[in-house]
Amino acid sequence: MSKLLEMKNITKRFPGVIANDNINFSLEKGNVHSLLGENGAGKSTLMSVLSGLYKQDEGEIYIKGEKNNFKSPNDAIKNGIGMVYQHFMLIPRLTVIENIILGIKQEKEPLINEKKAAREIQEIADKYGMDIDPYAKVWQLSVGEQQRVEIIKALYRGAEILILDEPTAVLTPQEIEELFNMVEQLLKEDKGIIFISHKIEEVRNISDKITVLREGKKIGTVDATAKKKKLAQMMVGREVVFTVDKDNVSFGKEVLKLENIEAQNNKGLKAIDKVSFEVHKGEIYGIAGVDGNGQSELIEVIAGLRKADNGSVKFLNEDITNQEPRSILRKGVAHIPEDRQVCGLVMDMDIKENMVMQDYHEAPHCNGSFLDWNYISKHTNDLINQYNIKAPSEKEEARNLSGGNQQKLILARELHREPELLLAMHPTRGLDVGAIEYVHEKLLEARKEGRAILFVSTELDEIMNISDRMAVIYEGKIMGEVKPEEVTKEEVGLMMAGTKKEELK
């Protein structure tokens, strides 16, 4: 077997951090070599060096045995590196053809031969069993289709080494299977694949070799047969418990009841279509589904942030449909918003300011129009200790906290009010394993205390582990309500792709 790629002693520093510390990595023809590690472990940095986006401070890259340090993305592309970014590098306004040929010299430069390009794109698509319309605008495509465009884009440029950065994060189980089939095809053609992920199970399924990174350092390279536990330990640096201990709690009275809710998205299209369900005291009710199927709009309607066109939201038997957000929150609803950096926190404000974002206008946080900073600081410090937020002081800006500590700050702010209902939207998204454990623990604690929890997640394993009951949402409609222990992952996957529960068997 011959080495397609060798990266030797790669070091990459950013101001204040060493993102990659003396890392070695190699790839052989027809192999999948995975990079496993938590967020911020340095996987993406290493691959950005390989794809020419970053320049390494030290170390060398060898392509097929020849030394080749890339000066630009173009340079890397010419040498057969194809990168499929986690956040697709596609321009929504442009067509598939335009996105694929962008930056490539045309035969009759600068004239574009659209027909020829379309033909070539179709050939690649057919060869690997992908279905794509070259003339479609990218914004009209589903996430899975966009990923296909990215892969075709790399292949069109003659990629021999394909880097897939967290490719499964946005896909349904069925789409993941299609992706894996395509990977098999590519391997048959002697291409090499670098697969980046933090999901241990799927990495073990697809890889030949696995390299684990942690905090910018290479922990080791192992065969794919390595035990899950061992990989997790390499990744996190300590032992990890995978199962969530869930006590049996009996449900109490109905806390939240939705009836035939309909609402529109920001484009004015119907995003929620006749959604009904109820959540009880002491229950975690999960909403599963691929991102962008109406989850955001649904939570916003309940929190009063979006107008419901039809139907009703009842909280403890009181109709709260289309009330002001503050009045809903003050009745005993707490909200962990979907994006902690955009709508959960004000990143430029410090911890204490963020902590009293909801209560600042009420005694004891203020005296009339004046804030009582002494009280607020003390109150914040109590919560910092109680929720184990790692920060130098309550005066630290939210921006400087790690993702996990930002989420803890939000949890502290929302849970200390002892809400009757907690709306938790992607509360573990982008967190590392340790922080995820913590969030789960807190959610289960809240459940034990008898709070009703509406839990939205796109991670199938997580939602099936945590929820007492769950609904699967697809294009704004509920495909069915199930108990996690009564269905298989595949069944839920089918529902996420638009199959109704009744049609399953």
């Binding site: 970053y54 993305p73 929504p92 306004r93 442009l94 335009e98 962008l102 004239l111």
Partner: protein
């Protein structure tokens, strides 16, 4: 009946003339805007172009040399703007305002030094009319479309050319990509900085030439602050025209019509104070933009510097 038709024809002929500087600057702005650059300094660039064009024509005693000088000087102003906003990453709006203020001071000072104060303007060659044989004899549209100042034809020709460049060539594809998602363009191997530099320089050249048309086509001398907001109107025309050359042509003609009509009404000796009439094109601009709010779809990376991590 004949009179009304005559009046409309004259109005439209004047419209094409008053629309031309807006169209030239507007086309220039499309190149920049589509690459993600919002250059409100186009007002100042036009003013500098107006002066450079007038002075160039005077020195070389040839109006086309004047236009060439205006283009070059406009390009230099564009290069300075590009350096500030692309390389130094200064705020585009603030830098644009600075260019506008600089332009007023610079042209006023140079005008007084080079042409003197309180003297009647010197004889400067100006752009002539070109009558296209046969075509100009077609009733009504003949005089309208084929008996115009030569620069009007050039400006009109730029519309289909720009459309072709934007949608049929890799140059246009790169520009559109850079304005919407510079990082995606970068990873696809497009040199974002180069694209932004050249679009800014080329766009500013067109703005300079648009300014020169004011001082060598519509008038044949330079007056202080003679652009009088046409740069801003061009910016409005780009938004109104949805960043599309044909749309910008339509918007320029609409705004030019306002200008043309206000001159006519003034000349007729109307009782309405002329200050109100001067407002017409600006009112049209505001109304057009207000009616359009919510439907515009600007390039996604407008006015954002591209910061490349290395």
């Amino acid at each position: 009946m004949e009179n009304i038709l005559n009046l409309i024809q004259n109005l439209l002929i004047a419209d094409f003339r008053t629309a031309t500087p807006i169209l030239l600057a507007g086309i220039g702005l499309i190149y920049m805007y589509r690459a993600g650059i919002v250059n409100i300094g186009v007002e100042g660039t036009m003013l500098i172009g107006a002066f450079a064009g007038s002075y160039g024509a005077y020195i070389f005693n040839n109006v086309w040399m004047g236009i060439l000088v205006a283009g070059i000087v406009g390009g230099i102003v564009g290069a300075i703007f590009a350096f500030l906003i692309i390389t130094i990453k200064a705020d585009q709006i603030v830098t644009g305002v600075a260019i506008n203020i600089l332009a007023i001071g610079l042209t006023t000072t140079l005008n007084r030094i080079l042409f003197g104060v309180n003297t009647s303007p010197p004889e400067i060659p100006s752009i002539g009319k070109i009558s296209l044989p046969y075509l100009s004899e077609i009733p009504f549209i003949g005089r309208l479309l084929f008996n115009q100042l030569s620069m009007v034809y050039l400006a009109l020709l730029l519309v289909p050319i720009t459309y072709y460049i934007f949608y049929k060539t890799t140059i246009g594809l790169k520009i559109r990509a850079v304005g919407d998602h510079p990082k995606a363009a970068d990873t696809a191997g497009v040199n974002v900085f180069k694209v932004r530099y050249w679009t800014t320089i080329f766009g500013s050249m067109l703005a300079g030439i648009g300014g020169a048309f004011l001082s060598t086509g519509i008038l044949s001398f330079f007056t202080e602050d003679m652009v009088a907001g046409r740069g801003f109107i061009a910016l409005a025309a780009v938004i109104f025209g949805n960043w599309n050359p044909w749309g910008v042509l339509g918007a320029s003609l609409l705004f030019g019509f306002g200008d043309a009509i206000q001159i006519r009404i003034q000349a007729m000796g109307s009782n309405i104070p002329y200050q109100f009439l001067i407002m017409v094109p600006y009112l049209l601009t505001i109304t057009a933009l207000a009616g359009l709010v919510g439907k515009v779809n600007p390039p996604k990376a407008s006015a954002e510097p591209y910061i490349k991590e290395e």
